[in-house]
C-alpha cells in the first residue's frame, strides 16, 4: 500500500509562527516523497485543527499523518485520537516538536525555519515505515492503594470508598491525620483543625471500604497500570488492635519517657504511646528498638534497662522480680558484680555510665523477698541433683525447680553459698543478705544435703541409683595453686588464702599474726589483706609481681585496701620463704621489671638480678589463684582438661557423661559470679531439653553480636551532663576495725535521679509493666513485623512534606536561643492537647509580651528553596490573631515579610482583618536574631532588620520569635520515588506528568499524586488535589479496563538464535526461553518496551514495535536529507 502522507504545521498562535516561517516549511514538505497534502493552521490542537486532519484522512485517503507543533509529550495523544476518529490507526501518526525544541529556543528565524524543516523531514520520512499497532486492553484491579494518611490521603481514600471501591490506606506513623492534626486553628476561617479533621479520620476508621494499614510502609511495587503488586511492611505494634480499647493504662504504667515527635519534641511521651487522645486508630503502639547494650552485655542476660526504669519509678518489687527472671541473687550481685553492663552504657557518651550495680543493690535492699509470692510450679516427675551450692549451683537449682523438677543440693561445707560464703568477706557481702537470698531460693521446695562431698561421701553412680535423672556439677575452684618456691612447705605460718578466708567465714580463726605478707594481685589477695587487718594484723603487705595497671582486683577494692593501710609492693616476685625455729620469719623477694606480653596479654615480669630483699613477717598468705578439685569427677567418668577444669560442650555445658552437666569455676577456673550464673542458665536449658528427651544440638553456641549494627535510640543532643550518683560508705578508719559492710549503697533520691539519666537505648525496656496493667491483655511483646502483598489497580502517592530545619540559618539562632520556635512548634504550643495545654507560654512558664514572626525562612531564598511555600503568610496572620486572642491584645506582634501573598478565597480579607487587629507589618527580611540585655537589663531577643518601606534599620526586642520555615520534600523522597518509579523535580517534590494539564498524573501510568508531595499547598488546595487523584484512580477502576501501549518488544521466531542474552538483560523478566522451539519469547503483558533486548540483539530478531531499526534509520536519513 503506497503511503499517502498528510503534513500539518501549527502556528501555536505566535509561539511557533513567530519564529518559524510555517508557509516555507509547508512548501518544503510538500516536495517530500509520498506527501499528499501539507497545511499550516493557527491551532492544530483546536477542534477545527483536528477536524482538518480528519477531513483530509476521509477525503484525500491519507494513511499517514504528521503534525509539527509542540512536544509529543503534550499532544501526541490528542492527534492520535483524531486519526483514530477518522478511522486511521493512531500509530500511523508521527509528531515533530517545532516549539519546545525549535521556535522557543532558537533566536534566528532563518535557523528556526531550517531546523523545523529537518525535523519535519525526519518525521515524514519515518512515518513511511510505521505499522498498524493495536493497543492492548488489560483488566484493572478495582482496589486502590493510597500511600500516606495525611489530609490528602484521607480525602482521596474517602472519595474512593464513597464510590464503592476498596482502598488500602498505608500510613507509616502509628496514627493517621498527618500534619493537619498537629495544627490548632486553620486559616482563614479559624476553625480548629481537630474539629474539621477528626470527622474525616473517624470516617476512615469506620468505612468498610477502607483497609487502614497504619504503622506500615510500602517497600516494593511490581507490575503495571491496572495490575500492581504492592509489598507492605507492617511494623509490629506489640498491641493487639482487636483487643486494645485505647484506655491508656499501659502508658500510665510505662516507666520509659522519650520526647514526643508529634509535639515537635516540645513535650514527651511514653515508650507505649498514642500521639493524641483522638488518634485513629486509637490503638497504642510500643516503640521498640534493639535490646539495650547493658542488657545484651550482661552475661546472664538480665534486663538491665528494664529494672533501671522500674527503680526510677520506685517500683522496687517489680524491679527485683524482673532481675530474678535471670538471677536469683539480686542483693548479692548488687554488691559483688563486676557490672560489665556499666562498661557498655551509652550514657558515657554524654557524661558517665549509670551506676547500674548500685541500683540493683538499692532495689534488692528495699524488698523483702518473702513478700514476693512463690511462682506456681507445675511438678515434673524427674529429679535432678545439684552438686555444689555456689552461684552456679544455686542458679541451676532455682531455675530447674521453677521448671518443676525435684531438686536436691549436695554441699560439702556445712553451709550453702560456696565461694559467696567462704570466698567473699562479710564486709563486702553481709551474711544476712546471702542467707536471705539462699532462703528465698530454698522456698521453692529444694532439699539440701550439706557436708556431702562428691567423691568422698558419694559418687555420681550413687546419685543415678538414687533415681536422679540428671546431675549438675558446680563444685567451683577451691584448690589453691602452689608457689613452688623453697621453704613453701617447711614452716609453720603459711596459710592458703582460700583456707584463711573460709575459716574466717565459718568461725573466727583469731589473729593471723602481727605482720602478714600476702602474695597475689587478685580480689582474693585484697580480700585476704583487708580480712587480716580486721582480725588485728598490724602490718599487711601485698606482694605483686606486676604493676598496678595489671592488677586483676577491682579498682575500688585496691583503693579501699590502701586507704585502710594495706601496703602493696608492686613489681615484686617471690623467691623463698625464710624461717627460723620452724616458723616463718620473713619472705624473700626480688624486684622485677615488665618484659613483653605473655599469652594472657599482660606484660611478663622479669626479675632484676641482684635486687633481692626480705620482708620480715610471721604469716604468709599465698593468693595466686585456685583450680577445681575435680579428681572426684574424673573418678566417676567425667573428663577434665587443663588445670583440672571440667570439659563441657560450649552450647549445652554437657560433660563427657550424657546426664552430667557442669558450670561455674569448675568449668572456667576462677571467674566472676555473674559468669557462673550465665553458664548455669545454659546448663538449665540443656538439662530441661535432655529430660524432655529432645536434642541439644539446637542450643545456640556463644553468638558473636555484630557490633555497630544495632538500631538503638540516638543519643539525644544537648542534654545536660549530670554526675554519677554518689555512694555512701563507712569511714574506712572505722570500717577496718570490724566486718560490717563498707558500702552503704545509694539513697532513694539518688537512685531515682540515676535512673533518670538512663537514655533508654532500646526505648521500650520490656519491663512488662504494660502487660501487668492491661486488663484486656492486649499487649503482646511477642508480635513480629510482617510483610504482606496487596494487588491493586492504581496507586495514589500522598506522602506529604517536611518542614525545613532552620538550624542551618545560624543567624536566626534556632537551637541556640530557647524562645526561637518553628511554625510547627508554635502550632503545638497553641494546641489544646499540646505540651502547654494550648497556652502560649515561654519555656520559663511566663506569657510573652512581644513576639516576632519571621516569614520566608528557607523559602524564596536561593540558598535554600527558591520556591514560595505558599502557606506561611497566611498562618503567620493566623498566629497573629491567636496571640492577640490568647495572650492578650496588648501583646505586640511583628510580622517580618518580603511580600504578603494572600491569593486564596477569603485570604485578602483575613489580611485586612489582622491589620485592623493591630499586628505590625515590617517589610524586610531580618538579618539576624540575637540575644542581648535591654536597657532594663533583662535578656531579650533582638530582631535586626531593615524596614524597606521606610528605608530604616530596625532593632526590635521581643520575648519570642517564630520562624515560618519552608515546606520541603520529605527526606526520603528519593527512596519513595524509586519504589514507585516516579521522578522528582528540581525542588525535590514529585514530578507531575504536566505542570498544567497533568498535575495529578505521573510519568508512570496508574500512579497519581495527591497533596504536598507534589508541591507546597494549603489545605483547600491539598483537598482538591486529592479529590482529583481519587477521580483519576476511580476512572481506571470504574472502567475496569485500560489500554496499555502496544509499544513492546517482539522477537522474530524465524531469526532468533536462542542465545538468551536478552533474557539476562531484561529488567522485568518479560522474556522466556521456549525450550521446544529453541527461541526466546516476549511476554507482552509484562514487557514495558524499554528495548534493552532490541539494542543488544545482533540479528535484530528482538525489536521494539514503533521503534524499529527501519523507522529510526528513516528518521536519521530524514534529518540529514533535510539539511541543505
Amino acid at each position: 500500500m503506497l503511503a499517502r502522507i498528510g503534513f500539518y504545521i501549527c502556528h501555536c498562535g505566535t509561539n511557533i509562527a513567530g519564529k518559524v516561517a510555517v508557509e516555507e516549511v509547508t512548501k518544503f514538505v510538500r516536495g517530500l516523497r509520498n506527501v499528499v497534502v501539507a497545511r499550516d493552521y493557527k491551532f492544530m490542537c483546536s477542534d477545527p485543527g483536528q477536524e482538518m486532519i480528519q477531513k483530509d484522512i476521509r477525503e484525500l485517503g491519507l494513511n499517514r499523518v504528521v503534525v509539527a507543533s509542540c512536544s509529543p509529550r503534550l499532544h501526541e495523544k490528542t492527534f492520535q485520537s483524531a486519526c483514530q476518529r477518522a478511522g486511521l490507526n493512531p500509530y500511523y501518526f508521527q509528531m515533530a516538536c517545532v516549539r519546545e525544541h525549535c521556535s522557543w529556543v532558537t533566536e534566528d528565524p532563518a535557523q528556526a525555519t531550517q531546523k523545523a524543516k529537518t525535523l519535519a523531514a525526519a518525521a515524514v520520512n519515518r512515518v513511511n515505515f510505521h505499522k498498524t499497532l493495536t493497543t492492548r486492553e488489560v483488566s484493572v484491579h478495582p482496589d486502590v492503594l493510597v500511600v500516606g494518611a495525611g489530609i490528602a490521603g484521607i480525602q482521596a481514600s474517602l472519595d474512593i470508598a464513597k464510590a464503592g471501591y476498596k482502598v488500602h490506606l498505608v500510613e507509616k506513623e502509628p496514627s493517621i491525620g498527618g500534619h493537619m492534626v498537629q495544627f490548632d486553628k486553620t486559616f482563614p476561617t479559624l476553625d480548629c483543625a481537630a474539629c474539621i479533621s477528626t470527622p474525616k479520620t473517624v470516617a476512615v476508621s469506620q468505612s468498610p471500604n477502607i483497609n487502614l494499614l497504619s504503622y506500615s510502609e510500602v517497600t516494593e511495587v511490581k507490575g503495571f497500570v491496572g495490575n500492581f503488586k504492592v509489598r507492605v511492611h507492617r511494623n509490629a505494634r506489640y498491641i493487639r488492635e482487636d483487643k486494645c480499647t485505647g484506655c491508656g493504662i499501659c502508658a500510665e504504667n510505662c516507666p520509659v519517657t522519650v520526647p514526643n515527635e508529634f509535639d515537635e519534641k516540645l513535650g514527651s511521651r511514653k515508650a507505649v504511646y498514642r500521639y493524641f487522645p483522638q488518634a485513629i486508630p486509637l490503638t497504642f503502639a510500643i516503640d521498640k528498638k534493639d535490646p539495650a547494650p547493658c542488657r545484651t552485655t550482661c552475661p546472664a542476660g538480665i534486663n538491665v534497662q528494664g529494672y533501671v526504669q522500674l527503680v526510677g519509678k520506685g517500683k522496687y518489687k517489680e524491679a527485683v522480680q524482673l532481675i530474678m527472671e535471670r538471677l536469683p541473687l539480686p542483693g548479692v550481685l548488687g554488691r559483688v558484680c563486676p557490672a560489665f553492663c556499666e562498661g557498655a552504657c551509652r550514657r558515657s557518651e554524654v557524661d558517665s555510665a549509670l551506676s547500674i550495680r548500685e541500683m540493683k543493690r538499692f532495689a534488692a535492699d528495699q524488698v523483702k523477698l518473702e513478700d514476693i509470692p512463690v511462682p506456681p510450679i507445675e511438678e515434673k516427675p524427674e529429679k535432678v541433683a545439684v552438686i555444689g551450692s555456689g552461684p552456679a549451683g544455686l542458679t541451676a537449682a532455682y531455675y530447674l525447680r521453677l521448671k518443676g523438677y525435684g531438686i536436691t543440693i549436695f554441699e560439702s561445707l556445712p553451709k550453702l553459698g560456696g565461694m559467696l560464703r567462704v570466698g567473699i568477706p562479710e564486709y563486702r557481702l553481709p551474711r544476712d543478705v546471702l542467707d536471705g537470698e539462699i532462703a528465698n531460693i530454698l522456698r521453692l521446695g529444694i532439699s539440701v544435703e550439706t557436708g556431702k562431698q562428691l567423691g568422698r561421701d558419694f559418687s555420681l553412680e550413687d546419685l543415678r541409683n538414687q533415681g536422679f535423672k540428671a546431675i549438675f556439677v558446680g563444685i567451683g575452684a577451691h584448690a589453691p595453686l602452689k608457689l613452688n618456691i623453697p621453704g613453701e612447705t617447711d614452716f609453720e605460718g603459711i596459710v592458703q588464702a582460700t583456707d584463711f578466708l573460709r575459716e574466717t567465714s565459718l568461725g573466727a580463726p583469731g589473729n593471723p599474726g602481727r605482720r602478714v605478707v600476702i602474695i597475689g594481685g587478685g580480689n582474693v589477695a585484697i580480700d585476704s589483706a583487708r580480712t587480716a587487718l580486721r582480725l588485728g594484723s598490724e602490718e599487711v603487705t601485698i606482694v605483686y609481681r606486676r604493676s598496678r595497671e595489671e592488677m586483676p582486683a577491682y579498682e575500688e577494692e585496691i583503693e579501699d585496701a590502701l586507704k585502710e593501710g594495706v601496703r602493696i609492693r608492686y613489681l615484686t616476685a617471690p623467691v623463698a620463704v625464710v624461717g627460723s625455729a620452724g616458723r616463718v620469719s620473713g619472705f624473700r623477694c626480688i624486684q622485677t621489671e615488665l618484659g613483653p606480653a605473655d599469652e594472657s596479654g599482660r606484660r611478663r615480669p622479669v626479675p632484676i638480678v641482684g635486687s633481692e630483699f626480705t620482708i620480715d613477717c610471721d604469716v604468709i598468705i599465698p593468693a595466686i589463684g585456685q583450680e577445681p578439685e575435680s579428681k572426684c569427677c574424673t573418678e566417676s567418668g567425667v573428663n577434665t582438661g587443663r588445670r583440672g577444669r571440667v570439659t563441657v560442650a560450649e552450647n549445652s555445658m554437657r560433660t563427657s557423661a550424657e546426664d552430667v552437666f557442669a558450670a561455674g569455676d569448675a568449668v572456667s577456673g576462677p571467674a566472676t559470679v555473674i559468669e557462673s550464673v550465665a553458664q548455669a542458665h545454659k546448663a538449665v536449658a540443656a538439662i530441661d531439653l535432655y529430660l524432655r528427651g529432645e536434642s541439644l544440638d539446637g542450643l545456640p553456641a556463644e553468638e558473636a553480636k555484630p557490633k555497630g549494627s544495632e538500631n538503638w535510640r540516638e543519643v539525644p543532643k544537648g542534654i545536660e551532663a549530670r554526675p554519677r550518683a554518689a555512694i555512701n560508705r563507712l569511714n574506712l578508719e572505722e570500717a577496718k576495725k570490724a566486718f560490717s559492710e563498707v558500702s552503704l549503697g545509694m539513697s532513694e533520691d539518688s537512685a531515682i535521679a540515676e535512673a533518670e539519666r538512663c537514655l533508654n537505648c532500646g526505648i521500650c525496656s520490656e519491663c512488662m509493666e504494660c502487660v501487668r496493667a492491661c486488663e484486656r491483655s492486649a499487649v503482646d511483646h511477642s508480635m513480629k513485623d510482617q510483610d504482606i502483598e496487596i494487588p491493586v489497580g492504581s496507586i495514589i502517592v500522598a506522602t506529604g512534606f517536611d518542614t525545613m530545619d532552620p538550624a542551618g540559618l545560624v543567624n536566626y539562632g534556632y537551637g541556640r536561643f530557647d524562645e526561637v520556635y518553628t511554625g510547627l512548634e508554635f502550632e503545638r504550643l497553641n494546641n489544646a492537647v499540646g505540651p502547654t495545654g494550648g497556652q502560649i507560654l515561654m519555656k520559663n512558664g511566663e506569657k510573652p509580651s512581644s513576639i516576632a514572626i519571621v516569614h520566608c525562612v528557607g523559602s524564596r531564598d536561593v540558598n535554600y528553596h527558591a520556591y514560595c511555600s505558599r502557606v506561611c503568610c497566611m498562618y503567620a496572620l493566623k498566629y497573629g490573631h491567636l496571640i492577640k486572642e490568647k495572650v492578650g491584645h496588648n501583646t505586640k506582634v511583628y510580622n517580618f515579610y518580603i511580600d504578603m501573598r494572600c491569593y486564596g478565597k477569603g485570604y485578602e480579607e483575613f489580611y485586612r482583618r489582622l491589620q485592623e487587629e493591630g499586628i505590625e507589618f515590617i517589610r524586610g527580611k531580618p538579618a539576624e536574631i540575637r540575644r542581648e540585655a535591654t536597657g532594663s537589663g533583662e535578656q531579650k531577643l533582638i530582631v535586626v532588620s531593615e524596614d524597606t518601606l521606610i528605608g530604616k534599620r530596625r532593632r526590635i526586642p521581643v520575648d519570642m520569635a517564630i520562624l515560618c520555615t519552608a515546606m520541603e520534600a520529605r527526606k526520603n523522597a528519593p527512596d519513595v520515588a524509586r519504589v514507585f518509579g516516579i521522578n522528582q523535580g528540581g525542588d525535590g517534590f514529585f514530578l507531575e506528568e504536566h505542570p498544567k494539564l497533568g498535575p495529578v498524573s505521573t510519568a508512570t501510568d496508574g500512579i497519581f499524586l495527591a497533596g504536598t508531595c507534589q508541591s507546597p499547598k494549603d489545605i483547600p488546595d491539598t483537598v482538591s488535589h486529592a479529590s482529583g487523584a481519587a477521580a483519576q484512580a476511580l476512572a481506571l477502576a470504574a472502567r475496569g479496563k485500560v489500554e496499555v501501549s502496544p509499544v513492546t518488544s517482539w522477537i522474530d521466531p524465524d531469526i532468533c538464535a536462542g542465545c538468551q542474552t536478552c533474557i539476562k538483560l531484561c529488567a522485568y523478566s518479560a522474556i522466556e526461553f521456549n525450550e521446544r522451539r529453541g527461541i526466546s519469547e516476549v511476554n507482552e503483558a509484562v514487557c514495558k518496551g524499554c528495548g534493552s533486548c532490541a539494542a543488544f540483539c545482533p540479528s535484530g530478531a528482538a525489536r521494539v514495535k514503533h521503534f524499529t531499526s527501519k523507522q529510526i534509520f528513516a528518521e536519521i536519513e530524514g534529518i540529514l536529507e533535510g539539511v541543505v
Partner: protein
C-alpha cells in the same frame, strides 16, 4: 577552522532528557539550533548501529542522553546503554572519527538548564572539530 553549522543527532530518552529538553523550551533557554532530537523510550534501546549509521551518513556528532543511574524509568536501561557506548568509543575513533563526536550524558527530567548547557558546549566543541565530510562523501 571553517565556520559551519554542525548537525548533531541526539538519541534521548522520553522520560528524562526529552522532558528536560521540553523544560528548556518552556523556560525559553536559548540554544544553538544544531541538535536534532530522536526520541527514544530509553537510552537502553539505542542500537549501536544507529550511532554508526548517523556518523557514516554525515552527522557531525551523536549525543546519547538519558536518566541518571538509579533514575532510569526502566530500572537500568541507561546502564546497558553506557556499556554499548563504551564499546563504540573503542571502535569508532580507530577509523579517524574524533572521539568527541560521540557524547553520552545523564540529564534528568528537571535539568532543563543542564540540557541547554550541554547543547551549547557540544555545538561549540563540534564546531572546533570541524565538519564530518562523510555527509557528502561516498561512504556507505
Amino acid at each position: 577552522m571553517i565556520e559551519y553549522e554542525p548537525t548533531i543527532i541526539a538519541f534521548v530518552c522520553n522520560w528524562c532528557t526529552y522532558t528536560a529538553a521540553d523544560l528548556a523550551g518552556t523556560s525559553r533557554l536559548v540554544q544553538p539550533p544544531n541538535v536534532r532530537m530522536i526520541r527514544m523510550m530509553c537510552t537502553g534501546m539505542v542500537d549501536p548501529k544507529y550511532v554508526i549509521k548517523a556518523l557514516l551518513e554525515g552527522a557531525d556528532a551523536v549525543l546519547i542522553s538519558g536518566c541518571h543511574p538509579g533514575d532510569c524509568h526502566y530500572i537500568n536501561g541507561n546502564l546497558k546503554a553506557r556499556r554499548r557506548i563504551k564499546l563504540l568509543k573503542e571502535i569508532i575513533p580507530k577509523f579517524g572519527f574524533d572521539e568527541r563526536r560521540l557524547k553520552m550524558t545523564w540529564i534528568g527530567a528537571s535539568e532543563g538548564i543542564d540540557f541547554a548547557q550541554t547543547v551549547r558546549s557540544l555545538v561549540a566543541e563540534v564546531k572546533q572539530i570541524g565538519p564530518n565530510e562523510l555527509r557528502t562523501k561516498m561512504v556507505l
